[in-house]
């Protein structure tokens, strides 16, 4: 938030507006409606932002179904399901927080926001565990490059290769019923896995980024709630953050079955 210069504070029409209504709005309702419409349009941009990834998913899946059959064996469905529950629960607490704010129950707002934040953090921890598993088996595209950025070596950047742990891949594919793969076919399948892992990390990574941003915004809102900034006529920040948080949930509701469940 930037500094506002003095004349912004001057109510323009003789002070009949509530003090939290900005100078350029006529009424609290107009201000609230504007914020809400703005938020929905922002959510619209978010939907289209993710549309690129869903589009890539659809195109790649339509043309290479086998890769998805192979690929989804490498994801941990129980962890994904757990995260789904966590995120939906956090949506509930968020919705309850908005309700509490509308009803002037400030202590409930604080508690419910705190629970929402905790759920968001839990989600991130579980996501971290999943990512760690992938990293340990070299399943991240361009992993050597990433490792190189964080190392002290001052050599040329290594090529962007995808070289997962062959034994690990073989075991998983055997579990999936591909017991008798010769080396050449295995190499081919590993090669194809690159795009699958690419879409996995792009989708879940961008989603996780949204969760992190959401948690950050929630923390700010929580502090505002602790300071007693909200009430039945001024709950816009809680409401808007809630809409954003629900959208993040909404996207996960699609990501989860598309990546983890469909064989």
């Amino acid at each position: 938030m930037t500094e506002s210069h003095p004349s912004d504070e001057k109510p323009n029409d003789g002070g009949c507006k509530a003090p939290h209504v900005a100078h350029h709005f006529d009424s609290a309702q107009q201000q609230y409606d504007s914020a809400k419409l703005g938020m929905w349009i922002f959510l619209l941009t978010e939907v289209l932002f993710f549309s690129g990834l869903f589009c890539f998913y659809a195109v790649y899946r339509a043309n290479n179904p086998q890769v998805f059959v192979d690929g989804h064996h490498f994801l941990n469905t129980p962890l994904g399901a757990f995260n789904t529950v966590v995120l939906i629960f956090s949506s509930l607490t968020m919705a309850l927080a908005v309700r509490a704010a509308q009803l002037d129950r400030n202590r409930s707002v604080v508690c419910l926001l705190a629970v929402t934040i905790l759920c968001g953090l839990t989600f991130m921890v579980v996501k971290g565990v999943e990512y760690k598993q992938k990293w340990d088996h070299h399943m991240v595209p361009g992993q050597t490059r990433i490792a190189h950025w964080f190392s002290d070596e001052n050599t040329q950047s290594p090529p962007k290769k995808f070289q997962p742990d062959v034994q690990y891949v073989r075991e998983h594919l055997e579990e999936a019923g591909h017991a008798d793969l010769d080396d050449e076919e295995l190499a081919q399948r590993i090669d194809n896995l690159r795009s699958y892992m690419g879409i996995y990390f792009a989708l879940t990574g961008l989603h996780a980024l949204h969760v992190i941003i959401g948690v950050g915004v929630l923390c700010v809102v929580l502090i505002m709630a602790i300071r007693g900034r909200f009430g039945s006529h001024r709950f816009t920040p809680v409401d808007m953050t809630g809409l954003y948080w629900h959208l993040v949930d909404l996207i996960w509701i699609y990501v989860f079955p598309l990546l983890y469940l469909i064989p």
Partner: protein
């Protein structure tokens, strides 16, 4: 569109009227319960193979869940219809983008396959 946009003067009388609908707590808890049931269903059916239906079932359940979240948690059911319109525009454009791009890539895919066969 004129009527669906939030009207500036609807509450200009003062800040006494509530800004937005307050959702009944039983509705919120009920929606959460249904969402949990749907999650259980979609996870458990994933252990059975329905062939081409897999995708259909998963997307249908996800869409039901998404609709519940949007209608109740995001208040669309109680709010100005225009917000729902905005969300649907997003979904429609996603559909447009996805369908034409997919149509094209499926159409030209034989050229890619021929190349892959030759080089492998």
């Amino acid at each position: 569109m004129n009527n669906s946009s939030p009207s500036p003067q609807s509450a200009s009388s003062g800040s006494d009227a509530a800004l937005a609908h307050v959702v009944d707590i039983r509705v919120l808890l009920g929606v959460f319960a249904v969402l949990m049931v749907l999650t259980t269903i979609t996870v458990s059916v994933s252990y059975f193979d329905f062939g081409a239906l897999n995708l259909f079932v998963a997307i249908s359940v996800a869409t039901m869940k998404a609709a519940l979240v949007a209608l109740y948690f995001m208040h669309l059911r109680y709010d100005n219809l225009f917000y729902a319109f905005v969300l649907l525009v997003g979904v429609a454009f996603l559909g447009l983008f996805l369908s034409i791009t997919m149509l094209d890539s499926v159409e030209y895919h034989p050229g890619v396959e021929a190349w892959q066969e030759r080089t492998q």
